[in-house]
Symmetry: C2
Subunit: 417 residues, 2 copies
């Protein structure tokens, strides 16, 4: 089965909104073993949309549209797709009732009701996270059409819980993917290490860059999920072996989740004191559900006065070495450990930019310290001749801190890199 | 001039990576008055890429590719596009030297050098943020081709600083866009208020939803930027008037930037105490360059013990009302204000989920308090019958806190909504 994904929205062609929907849908189809031939973006314009729908129904077996199901005048997808596929729109009673109860206690405007108009005879895909239902149907020519809402927070659960089960009957082979996540070695370096493995057809292995990290994705196709998994396993193991201590996880997508899980497993707690990362490390740790069991306390101490008051950083050390220094990172890590009573303390201080850099300490210089009460390690991140954004410096500094904790918990040398 | 954007990368069709490049490029073209006809995504496959390039060169005047310029074996864009456009690749000496100096002090692998091979006679678009240079050239048929790297952190500055100046000569009319940003009123409600304005052709006005917010984009086309701006101005003013106090900015994209700018303008400082948002509010505030002038201190106090110790939240209040309560939000806001000496204190406590909800306080219940030392306001966010993610609850709670600060600074009723 071959699919085409059509995203509808002039805003996607003006660059105001990033098209995450295509990626979400493509991934789900890929796991069902459905090939995505092509993806395209079309304007909120009935004529252009109709042309695109006709072309898709000609070339592909499955058309999935995203967006344009909402209440406003430029939400044209249902009308246009239904017309191109020769279907009438009728009021769906269930969706109408759901709309009314959704707005119970809030404001419901007149134009909302349009969302309950759906192609005659379709399977309604209920929206548990918003107002616009989706739908699925077959055309007279035997093509499958699925319409999903645009907002990713609505699209993703509808896709997983309603559209995928609808599609499962069409899928013959199954794809399994596993990712080996790496911190501390770049895409090019790892690509050389695993070069021979990337030449295989099944499973395939492909290296990808990710902000300040990289991962190798191993993908196999087989009749069942178990068989596809079994094809992946030895390749995943071989990549782990070659890349060594720089592998932080298999299939756990983020450093923060890896670290939180391991902290909980070991019954250890962590506290953070952040200057230039400004709460980003705490935010990343608490992105992980259940992190409250491992995350004791976080402080964002921008001002020197606050570093002294909250963390007990010595006034003299600040005077002697300056706020952006190895010594202050260590004092912050030790201070927050003492204050919180956690097992591990992190201190981060640096210059995220765009202003504040000097010749000696350019923008991007960050010191990151980890203390366990007995010993304190400190790492220095340098901008390394590269002009990067504030966001980049903050993100990579918080990643480095997470990797230090990971290494500590795994009994690896904390400062290997 | 009509353009097509081609993004290259199998990962974009498997859904592993979200295609932000298309949005970035489309926005820049739109500002130059260049229409984007179509965008598409192609696999890392020479044959398919070649077909797509030929089709684009046939239908459009300008082809912009993103991705596939890197060092690994599946980076095929330059070879394939150059061949389809009838150009040879030659070693560019300047790019070669830049590569060597980029890697000075780091690891440079052999495969990196491939990146310095560029189409003969092209204009090299230097990469200030990575290793792969881009390029621009004209084909024998008078079509323009521009190749840009995939990583957004490299693409964005190269586009702005090198590709846009290259393209400026082709642009006859200019587009200006201005956005009216709204918090506290939904897309559908605002769409009804401005319905008549969305019917105009120049300037156009279109409402868009954004996570927990919305905005109306006003776009005009004219011979000069000044004329286009002048066309937008009365429409922007009219939208402001109709939407009233719910408008938080024109052209400042985020609540956090709006708030930080206004704090700095008024010479006021802010401190935050976060429970369920876990540092996200501090992170958003410190995303804004220069925020250190306005952001005094942030605390992430998950545990009750830490709330007592760090913020002086009374033990009895915790016992009587529970950690997720109006009283604790107020005590946190007042505590962090006292502790930090800032002008304003924020306290946030709630249940972000997925676990921890009760019948009385379901997941998504969040209390947000703002104190100025004389008075404390508190707002309750309810899940309102909608199942949303942890990320959603955390994001919208931090947005609500930012909006309360904005309203306070503007002298508006803090608890109007």
């Amino acid at each position: 089965m071959q699919a085409e994904i059509l995203s509808v929205g002039t805003e996607l062609l003006l660059g105001q909104t990033v098209n995450t929907d295509t990626a979400i849908v493509a991934e789900a189809l890929s796991e069902l073993g459905i090939d995505v031939l092509h993806t395209a973006v079309v304007r909120d314009n009935a004529k252009r949309l109709e042309d695109a729908v006709r072309s898709a129904l000609e070339h592909a077996d499955l058309l999935i549209t995203t967006g344009g199901l909402g209440p406003t005048g430029d939400d044209l997808t249902k009308e246009t797709v239904a017309a191109a596929a020769g279907k009438k729109l009728v009021l769906d009673e269930g969706s109408c009732e759901r709309l009314c109860s959704y707005f119970a206690g809030g404001e419901m405007t007149e134009n909302q009701i349009k969302q309950a108009m759906l192609p005659e005879g379709c399977t309604v895909l209920q929206n548990d996270n918003g107002t616009a239902p989706g739908c699925a149907f077959e055309t007279a020519e035997g093509k499958t059409v699925i319409m999903l809402p645009g907002p990713p927070s609505e699209l993703l659960p509808m896709l997983r819980e309603r559209a995928v089960p609808y599609l499962a009957r069409f899928s013959k082979s199954v794809i399994a993917s596993h990712s080996v996540h790496v911190y501390g070695r770049g895409e090019a370096a790892v690509a050389l290490l695993v070069d021979d493995l990337t030449q295989n057809a099944n499973p395939t292995a492909a290296p990808y860059a990710k902000e300040g990290e990289m991962f190798v994705r191993v993908t196999a196709k087989a009749a069942t999920k178990a068989e596809a998994d079994a094809l992946c396993a030895p390749v995943v193991e071989e990549i782990r072996r070659r890349v060594g201590n720089f592998v932080y996880s298999v299939d756990i997508d983020t450093l923060e989740e890896t670290v939180v899980r391991e902290l909980i497993r070991q019954g250890k707690t962590l506290a953070t004191a952040e200057s230039c990362t400004g709460g980003l490390l705490a935010k990343r740790l608490t992105d992980v559900p259940g992190s409250s069991a491992a995350f004791e306390m976080g402080c964002v101490t921008y001002a020197n006065r606050v570093k002294e008051m909250l963390l007990g950083v010595p006034h003299e050390t600040l005077g002697t070495y300056g706020a952006v220094s190895e010594q202050i990172a260590c004092a912050m890590a030790e201070g927050v450990l003492r204050k919180s009573g956690a097992d591990l303390g992190i201190g981060i201080t640096g210059i995220a930019g765009p202003a504040g850099g000097t010749a000696e300490k350019p923008v991007g210089t960050v010191y990151i310290a980890l203390s366990d009460g007995n010993r304190t390690w400190v790492a220095k991140k340098s901008p390394f001749g590269r002009t990067k954004s504030r966001e980049w410096h903050r993100h990579t500094a918080s990643s480095k801190a997470l990797d230090m904790v990971r290494r500590y918990l795994a009994g690896l040398p904390v400062d290997e890199i």
